[in-house]
Amino acid sequence: MRSLLLAVLAAYLIAAIHSILAFVNKRRSLQRVAEWSTAAGFVLHTGALIADWVIDGHYPLFFLRETLSFLAWALVAIYSLVLYRYRTQALGAFVMPLISVLTFVALIMGTNSLNDPTPFSATWLFPIHTTLFIFAYAFFFIVFVASVMYLLQERELKLKTFSAIFHRLPPLTTVNDLATSFASLGLTLLTLGIATGMIWSSTHYGHVWRNDPKEIFALLTWLLYFVLIIYRSSTTWRGRNAAWLGVVGFGLVLFTYLGTRLLGGYHVFG
């Protein structure tokens, strides 16, 4: 399935380059190219994931390589949602390069793991658990990008230093709304992800909670976004501080996703 993934990577790269060019040049025609190649990449990527599933015989979300590819796919899906709902094309210049990198790493990374995915994919609960987590991470990444945009734009407006980027960022209220609603979507998925993990763990190991580093950090992440939602949902405009929380929260997400490998624990699969 490498060649298919290679085609996916090519489509995402074209989309990334055109998104950046559209961001810099503000050309509608470039943006159209970016959107079409994103769509083409997404279709191919969906095909690649299904093919992986059929050929390898397990849900394609187990090894690190697979999670990266799956995460890229989830990000594309969510980015399309943003485009449809908020029309903030500027986001593409940030998201598409990351998606390309994720796809690239997934492509070059081999599977050298002693773990056997079969027992995990035997139950339907485990794939749901991992899928929920990946989508939650993807939502949090969009919250992160929107927060960074908010902070950049706010800074430019406050300091009145209107650099080139000023003309290219979406309005403050748009990115604020985007961050708010996507944080709550992410939190919902994260909650469900943790719950399904607990159920799965209790049926498999007999424990709901095992004090694994990944579990602890996931809980911390959950708490942080919970605070963020409570903070944002009050009728008072939070703007800047909420945006900072969105940035910090994503740092925690990154650590939960990748960093906890360093700490060991049974949650390390790939």
Binding site: R28, L157, K160, P171, D177, T235, T236, W237, R238, G239
Partner: protein
């Protein structure tokens, strides 16, 4: 056929001259009827705006010089200026240059403020006057329609008009950077100067639904309020209403700060910290610069606005470079189209062909004539040529007229007028 463009603009002539040359609609129609005689100047159009007066014409290529003289003369007389007075102010473009100039004008690349949107409407108006006067023919029709296409492309594909370059429009631009939609926003004018009023008008056009006016003399406030369907409040009640507007434009003549940090902080608290854009266009300033320290307040004074404007102008200039490339490629496309339309060369070729047939016949029959003197030979040749030319002339002429105009008086059954 050739295209000719002669005129003055803000770069070549001062306003004293431009105003004398300016044509109103009626003068424009009359002038066109006078200038376009169908022989020397075949088609014509007058673009007259406050920054330019230009005459665009189509003429036979061999009469280009003559036509140019006629147009310059026409400008002199219509401006009641001594002959030749305009010489040093006029620019004269022909063919490719003229096409490029028109494209640039309509795309607002030749304007005083690059990217201003009015000029395209003015060219459109000039064209409709020419159509009414019946002076826009085959060439100008194509040229003007192509021009509209170029202007549209420039507008869509470059950001030449994307950012504000006037103080009054800055409120809209800044508002759009903060609020995703100005619909549902409220704007407040503190002090009702002309500039504030103009800004408010732009904001209303951009979708702002509510305008509140606070002015020292309530009478003035009420007058302006009627225009907008706005509500008025007195300056004493200001604190009470200060929490409502999303955009506040301040332009009172007061000598010191009308809005202090304390006042704004309270207002923001009451509007639950929702972002607010303060624009202070008064000198001396009416809003304490310290207001800027309040979170979610974005304050701009007149200097800030000027600096955004100059950065926007630089942005427009960068975009204008891209627009020039579009114009360049469109000029080339149009020239190609024009060459396809131009029947001049093919008519010339037809005449030459006929002459060659006649010469070939002469050579074939030459032996039968026996020895002839040089004079006799020349007489035969000239007899042949003049017969060919005299026979073909009305036909070719009719052909030329048929192709060069969309005249309805050409009978489709007899396009060459042979039955007359």
């Amino acid at each position: 056929m050739s295209i000719l463009l002669i005129g003055v603009n803000h770069k070549t002539a001062p306003v004293e001259i431009r105003e004398r040359l300016a044509f109103n609609d009626e003068a424009c129609a009359n002038g066109l009827r006078e200038l376009v005689d169908g022989v020397v100047v075949r088609e014509g159009l007058i673009v007259s705006t406050c920054n330019r007066v230009e005459i665009l014409g189509a003429t036979a290529t061999d009469q280009l010089e003559f036509s140019a003289g006629r147009v310059a003369e026409f400008l002199d007389t219509s401006g009641r200026l001594p002959a030749g007075f305009l010489e040093k102010h006029l620019y004269r473009h022909t063919d490719e240059q003229a096409v490029r100039h028109l494209f640039r004008v309509a795309s607002s690349l030749d304007s005083m403020v690059v990217g201003e949107p009015q000029v395209l409407g003015q060219v459109r108006h000039a064209y409709s006057l020419a159509v009414e006067a019946g002076t826009a023919g085959r060439i100008l029709n194509r040229l003007v329609h192509h021009t509209f296409r170029v202007a549209k492309r420039v507008r869509n594909e470059t950001g030449i008009a994307a950012s504000a370059v006037s103080i009054s429009y800055m409120a809209v631009e800044l508002g759009k950077k903060i609020f995703d939609s100005l619909k549902g926003c409220t704007v407040m004018l503190i002090g009702a100067g002309e500039m504030a009023e103009l800004s408010a008008r732009h904001l209303v056009n951009a979708g702002v639904s509510r305008v509140v006016i606070a002015n020292r003399t309530e009478e003035t406030a009420r007058q302006i309020a009627e225009d907008f369907g706005a509500t008025t409040v007195s300056l004493d009640q200001l604190d009470q209403f200060l929490s409502e507007p999303d955009v506040i434009i301040c332009s009172t003549g007061a000598p010191d700060y009308v809005l202090t940090e304390e006042r704004v902080r309270k207002a923001l608290e009451r509007r639950r910290n929702r972002p607010t854009c303060f624009i202070d266009i008064s000198v001396p300033r009416n809003i304490d610069p310290a207001v800027s320290k309040v979170p979610n307040v974005f304050l701009f004074d007149i200097d800030d606005l000027e600096s955004v404007i100059s950065s926007n102008i630089r942005e427009r200039e960068r975009e204008a470079e891209r627009a020039e490339l579009i114009v360049q490629s469109e000029v080339m496309q149009f020239q190609q189209k024009l060459r396809l339309m131009d029947v001049g060369p093919s008519i010339g070729a037809l005449r030459q062909n006929m002459q060659e047939v006649a010469r070939a016949e002469l050579t074939r029959q030459r032996k039968r004539l026996g020895p002839l003197t040089k004079e006799q030979e020349e007489a035969i040749e000239s007899l042949l040529m003049s017969t060919v030319n005299k026979i073909s002339h009305p036909i070719l002429n009719q052909m030329r007229r048929f192709y060069e105009s969309n005249d309805a008086d050409v009978d489709p059954k007899d396009p060459f007028g042979l039955e007359e």
